[in-house]
Amino acid sequence: MSLPASPPSAVPATDAPSPPAALPAHAREAWLRDEIERVLAFAMIGQDLQSFVDADYTYRYVNARYALYWGRAREAIEGRPIAELFGDDVFARHVRPRLDSALAGNEVHYQATFDFPAMGPRHMEVSYMPARAADGRQIGVVARAHDVQALKDVEQSLQRAHALLEQRFLAQQRFIHILSHDLREPINTIVNFASLLREHHAPQLPPQAQRWLGFVNAGGRRMCDLLDDLLGLMRLERSLPEFADVALDDVLQDVLDDLQSACTAARAQVERHPLPCVRGERSLLRVLLQNLVANALKFSRPGQPPRIRVFAEETADAWKVCVEDNGIGIPQAKLDAVFELFARLHPRSAFEGNGMGLAICRRIAQMHGGSIHVDSALGIGSAFRIALPRRGAGEQAQEQ
């Protein structure tokens, strides 16, 4: 095998291999031959493009991979100037300045896309390592190029996906804005003037007109409620909850204060048991409890004052907060459906509502890493259970 003149010594002098000193002369020669074979194999074989370039910007050595990418035989590369392969322009602008830096003794790392004759454009991760002779003279550069086109492709598709998501997010923000402002304005106009008509001119209106006006009013109010809930739900979708320690007893107190007049009107009895302290966002947990208690009040049996029991059960890894009622109950077949968005089991004339309350409850439970579940018996009552993860034992110990 004919050897290029310099490469075997083209490694930093300190790391240059040398045969064990004790070997006799013929054995040293054999050792050196083997060592050269090993080093060559090491350089020739591999996924990376490798070359040794001398101080005159001439290829002294390239590996098989290098030859493959350029679509030439090794012999048609070695001994030729780099500029011949890269072209004068690319060589002068991209390769030469970096080679000069490496020839001055610096390690150079960069990424660039090269248009290889046999492979097309490939994005490469390139390193230039300065190579010195045994006497410390700078004799060339070892170049190693790693093909990262596949990574680049993934990165680009991720970037595209990210840009698309960003665009969608902005579109959603605009949509929320339209809902909350542009849509609310005309609805308010309808509700306001329908109310004024009723207050000031109802006596002058024939009964039929009064009834129609009632529909206008009720429809407008329903639209307002729907809009509020829809916006609430969309905000849930786009925000990450801010968790703190929340005493559910306090939250329940707020809820009951809020619903006090409704409780009194319905002659409801509320039986409270101690509730745990959980990690969560207070405002969301309040919506959750409020929806469940309000439902327990609403879906009561005619002539049966609501009896509502709120209590907690402790399991190994979760708290289950339970809101139990003695109301009309839910048919077995509909137990899962009640948590779907816009699910309503009853005509509006029987029970008001837009079918969003329990969907919001489920979403809030999920945002807390929990779930919601209902057991029910028709004509007897329902029990909603919110499972919320318990804080880890370590976390509790830390706080004590």
Binding site: R211, F215, A218, F342, S349
Partner: protein, 134 residues
């Protein structure tokens, strides 16, 4: 061409039922009108009747309990026995999925999107009883 003499409205929204009655009357409908706020109660009336006269059923999709599609499916045997019962979807849903689903159901003759207008009501009254079922 026979005029429709009976119409059944199946819609959970009271205001819509009142409005649809007004529009149907304005379109010249003088026959009998039955109103149901749930699919269950509409199905109950149809099931109880010993004789079912020709009737146009205007059916909402989105109702609590049994929805419009469930109603049509449950009424299928009845509709097969009584070809003079015509079901027309009348819904505020303009979603292509709902439309496609309704078109695919042989029980549903046609699909109208709210609001019901006097001219489309007139077309229903005059032409609705002709066999449009596919």
């Amino acid at each position: 061409m026979a005029h429709i003499e009976r119409i059944m409205l199946v819609d959970d929204n009271e205001a819509d039922n009142v409005y649809h009655e007004l529009i149907l009357r304005a379109a010249g409908f003088e026959g009998e009108l039955w109103i149901h706020e749930t699919g269950e109660s509409a199905l109950g009336q149809l099931g109880r009747a010993s004789v079912l006269p020709p009737c146009l059923i205007l059916l909402d999709i989105n109702m609590p309990g049994m929805d419009g599609f469930e109603f049509a499916a449950a009424a299928a045997p009845l509709l097969r026995r009584h070809p003079a019962l015509i079901v027309v979807m009348l819904t505020s849903s303009s979603s292509p999925q709902d439309h496609a689903r309704a078109t695919a159901m042989s029980e549903i003759s046609s699909y109208l999107t709210k609001p019901l207008t006097v001219s489309s009501a007139r077309a229903l009254i005059v032409g609705g009883a002709s066999p449009g079922r596919h």
